[in-house]
Point group: C2
Chain length 311, copies 2
Amino acid sequence: MILTVTLNAALDVTYGVDSLRPRTSHRVGAVHRRAGGKGVNVARVLAGRGRAVTVTGLVGGPTGALVREDLRAVPGLRDALVPVSGESRRTVTVVSGDDGDATVFNERGPQVSPSEWRAFADRFAELVREASVVALCGSLPPGLPSDAYAQLVARAAETGVPTVLDTSGAPLLDALGARPDVVKPNAAELASATGCEDAGAGAERLRGLGARSVVVSSGPGGLLAVTPEGRRRAVPPERLAGNPTGAGDACVAALAAGLADGAHWGDVLSDAVALSAAAVACPMAGDVDAATYERFRTTVTVEDLHAPQPH
Amino acid sequence: MILTVTLNAALDVTYGVDSLRPRTSHRVGAVHRRAGGKGVNVARVLAGRGRAVTVTGLVGGPTGALVREDLRAVPGLRDALVPVSGESRRTVTVVSGDDGDATVFNERGPQVSPSEWRAFADRFAELVREASVVALCGSLPPGLPSDAYAQLVARAAETGVPTVLDTSGAPLLDALGARPDVVKPNAAELASATGCEDAGAGAERLRGLGARSVVVSSGPGGLLAVTPEGRRRAVPPERLAGNPTGAGDACVAALAAGLADGAHWGDVLSDAVALSAAAVACPMAGDVDAATYERFRTTVTVEDLHAPQPH
């Protein structure tokens, strides 16, 4: 199975309003609630493709109970979340009926104690032994050490299980020394972490710090992969309008599946671009549109660029 | 004791953000959660003044459990809320750190079944027998008949217990035939319900439809009361900056306390204006600032206007 880790699991709440007007009161029409956090969304995409997938991470409080209740409804997804005493975070996305635009409010998450973190690390060590790949995704809740992902990547490596890491800022930089197999920043996260505006230079910087391969997502611009085999660019055949929030998670799902299958990088990248586009076609993160996926998977352009710099 | 009714009890959540910018993502700093809904706020004000007060209404789901947990922390307040199977609503207030402005999102509330409504009405009939006054406050959740307040006011009247009603729209208009003792719309609610821009004319319209007395709140403009004794206007000595959201609830608390004590209208109105001002001085609805209350209670101007039109 593929193991996904969501240390800051969330209940994603969507509010429909007629029109967002700051400094006024709004009647909320439709309210949707769904288990979220990047690793949960990645697991949902994998489960939807028939993959055996296990979700772990941290949840707590009444909001955490709603997260778990929602996950029980996903066929093929196993819940191995670890309880904490704090309350899981909510994200509130306000969608305006007039223009469809989304305004997002992200709570920080529960305060996690050192003993809760140790309990999680022990559970992770058990779960990783059953995994073919581990995907580690998203922000860290308050209280966790900034090298939390480094500890988990190191444990997976000891067990011989490859890792895909999708996070940003200090948790990303602090994890690189543990040598994750694939790191997937988006272009803005990469520039922020490395100071490099050029994606290729930024990716090389992350590889120099320990990442084995780096896949940089640039929205409709597609993916740039810098791997031990060289550089490749994968570009979608057309630009899609829609909801970009789940595209990165769909990309991580494809990278994890490709790593699990030992697929060729060219195939992995075209699958990742097609699956990202299929996520843009759906309003909720974690969903993918089957027709878009079928249409894109054979029409993504993958181009070999020059050889990588040695490390 | 004073009984307050909150048919659409809520968890009031406040999000602190640096600056509200539509169509962007926000990191939420401080998150505050508190039991809310108008009747809950009224009860909190009364309990803070040493009054024996009982809260009833409808709550459900994990959010309802958080509402009840929060109420347990209020000294002197008795929880007699009635459970429903749906999930209680949340309100989310986003406060911008740059200008202090508040943007509010109100969920509609749980769907209530006819049998749940009958169970509530039975419980209300028991509670009202112990009450000196009933305050009925706020919106109705989905599924309730629009004459829900009429049924409760009629039951209180049969038991000989006077009522204060603070609601708007159809639930207000449909309740008037049951002859509530005091109705407290704000100026905008009154204009919307009656089509009268003039508060005095609007209040007479509500009295014509069955309200015994009408107290119209106009924010810093104070109160206009139209009662069987005539018209009075009560005006605060100065204009306060602050949070107006709890002022109406503090006003209702003073009206309920005055009705329970059989106080003179002039005294009731000056107390209501002082308590409303004391609520404006506090950031959270349901709180009142003791120093502001003491400063205002002796300096409110109450003016007798002309005699009421006969009904």
